[in-house]
């Protein structure tokens, strides 16, 4: 990818972040945004600093993490239609969260933690299913196992929701559809610190991901230690996606659509694709969150609905262009 395209992508990300700070249920002036970012004033400055900034940053980080996860997973399973939520994570995370809500688990971190544990549980089962013949990780089984484990967890989740009371049901549904209404500085800090490691691992394996797209045999002929590579990539993707679910619910289509758009923009080599998918995914989710906040003011839409409403048409167009 050439320098001009990187600059354009960076500008898109910056404009998205700035829009996320300026617009909202109450629009604030550009001056107030600058004031809020640079000083400790109250009023609009405090609104920007304490509410909008953590929200926009969290959306950007989660979107970036989902973009990178999607791009990596698509190379791992050699399937351009793979979404990180397909590997069973969303079902497990949803089940964990809904259980926490139904059991009235207290504390601000109860739901995220339960969702994260649910995601890890699902990942462990899928991983166990996919390791065939003693030690080989089979990407096809990974995908199928993810779908069935996800469906199983989803059924359990529906059962819990059916048995729960109406108010619990509503908050569970809203949580599942995803959103950044509960974004806070601690959430930003925890997510940023946590995501750094799996993101770093994926970036360090970018060349391995290039080789995996040629097929496992060809990857080995060109020097990839594929079993270690596949394990690292899968566990990093699972760790990132699990954390994303924990802080923002299930937000689909970012991990599916963004890698496609970025492959067309900057090519399929992962050393460029992964950073591009991070910037693109971040910008996309910030804009989607902005639309979710403002489209039906004062009611806030779950951001997962917005990403689907934008993502599906974009994906359909990409698909047609690819096939044409």
């Amino acid at each position: 990818m050439n320098a001009r395209r990187w600059v354009v992508l960076l500008l898109v990300a910056v404009v998205a972040l700035a829009s996320g700070l300026i617009f909202g249920s109450v629009p604030v002036s550009f001056g107030a945004v600058i004031h809020g970012l640079t000083s400790g004033g109250g009023g609009e400055a405090a609104l920007v600093r304490e509410l909008r900034l953590p929200r926009v940053l969290l959306a950007f980080l989660v979107g970036g993490a989902l973009g990178v996860s999607g791009a990596s997973l698509q190379a791992l399973v050699r399937n351009p239609l793979a979404d990180p939520y397909l590997v069973g994570l969303s079902g497990g995370a949803g089940l964990g969260a809904v259980l926490a809500i139904a059991l009235h688990a207290g504390g601000a971190w109860a739901i995220p933690l339960a969702a994260f544990l649910g995601a890890l549980g699902a990942v462990a089962i899928v991983y166990r299913l996919s390791v065939v013949a003693g030690r080989r990780l089979d990407p096809h089984v990974l995908l199928l196992g993810g779908v069935v484990v996800g469906a199983f967890a989803g059924s359990l989740m529906s059962a819990v929701i059916t048995l729960a009371s109406a108010s619990e049901l509503r908050s569970a549904m809203l949580w599942l559809l995803g959103g950044f209404g509960f974004a806070s500085w601690p959430a930003v800090a925890v997510f940023a610190a946590y995501a750094t490691i799996p993101l770093g691992i994926l970036l360090a394996n970018a060349r391995g991901l290039d080789l995996l797209t040629l097929g496992e045999d060809n990857a080995q002929y060109l020097g990839a230690d594929i079993e270690r590579l596949k394990r690292r990539v899968y566990l990093s993707v699972a760790a990132l996606t699990g954390a994303a679910v924990a802080v923002s619910g299930v937000i689909g289509f970012v991990g599916l659509v963004v890698p496609h758009v970025m492959r067309r923009w900057g090519g399929p080599l992962h050393r460029a694709l992964l950073p591009a998918a991070f910037l693109g995914g971040g910008a996309f989710l910030v804009v989607a969150d902005l639309l979710a906040r403002t489209a039906f003011r004062p009611v806030e839409l779950p951001v997962g609905i917005v990403t689907a409403l934008i993502g599906v048409p974009v994906f359909a167009m990409q698909l047609r262009r690819t096939l044409a």
């Binding site: 045999d217 060809n218 002929y221 230690d225 399929p268």
Partner: protein, 264 residues
């Protein structure tokens, strides 16, 4: 000796019979070995075993005198270049970018490609007559162009030996001949070569030695005129053939129609 297998015995998980049973062969600098045999005779399995990708029941494979299992994969890729039977294009790449992947094993995860890498890529593409294709996307190449690019990628590894698994499948006569000519030329330049092929006649003309496999066992191993015997081939392939010398003296195999005399 670059690569050698000695009394190699290997089995696929759950299979009743061994896929390879006591197979020995050698890939040496400047020599081209052709591995032939019916479908399912173990040709591709032998290639996988030589590359250290099969668990052996007995026997051993050594690369430059050291057991292949002790070599890290990235190090193997700097000695052996492989062109596999098939490769589907998942995400189309520029030709130059896919050939640059040959350098990954030398570059490691983080280093940027340098002048030496770009020179190796260019040299490999030029040797395969594919340099003009460098900016094309891999999904727009014809079958012949794609094979030349993949051969170039194996060459860009700057290997000491090339292992080719039916590299001319689906190629027409000209492209097929170009591949064999190039492989011979590379061997004459000092590269070791092993080619798995169904083309008995081309193998007889281009290879220094042939290895005939059947049911995972070596039926014949030696110079082409020793290996290509009508009686043995008819039995192994289950079809009567005659063997007759071509002008250059190399034995050429002619499959017979039912009822044709086998006296030739």
């Amino acid at each position: 000796m670059i690569l050698s297998g000695s009394s190699v015995r290997a089995r696929y998980p759950g299979a009743e019979h061994a896929a390879l049973d006591g197979v020995s062969c050698e890939v040496a600098a400047g020599r081209l070995l052709a591995v032939v045999g019916p479908n399912g005779s173990g040709k591709s399995t032998l290639l996988r075993a030589l590359l250290g990708l099969m668990d052996l029941e007995s026997g051993d494979v050594t690369l430059k005198g050291r057991p292949i299992g002790r070599w890290p994969r990235a190090a193997i890729a700097t000695v052996l270049g492989v062109v596999s039977q098939r490769e589907d294009v998942l995400f189309p790449l520029r030709v130059e970018d896919t050939v640059m992947m040959a350098r990954y094993a030398r570059l490691g995860p983080l280093a940027a490609a340098g002048a030496a890498d770009r020179a190796a890529v260019r040299d490999a593409l030029e040797r395969c007559d594919a340099w003009p294709l460098r900016d094309r996307r891999t999904d727009t190449l014809s079958g012949g162009e794609w094979q030349r690019v993949r051969l170039a990628r194996a060459l860009a590894q700057e290997p000491e030996a090339l292992l080719l698994d039916e590299p001319t499948v689906a190629l027409d006569v000209r492209h097929e001949m170009e591949v064999f000519e190039l492989v011979r030329e590379l061997a004459d330049g000092g590269l070791g070569g092993l080619i798995v092929t169904h083309h008995l006649n081309l193998a007889a003309r281009y290879a220094d030695a042939m290895l005939l496999l059947d049911h995972g066992r070596v039926v014949a191993h030696g110079a082409p005129e020793e290996v290509l015997q009508a009686g043995v081939l008819s039995a192994v392939f289950g079809w009567p053939v005659a063997v007759t010398p071509w002008r250059d003296g190399s034995p050429q195999v002619v499959p017979l129609r039912p009822g044709e005399a086998t006296s030739g």
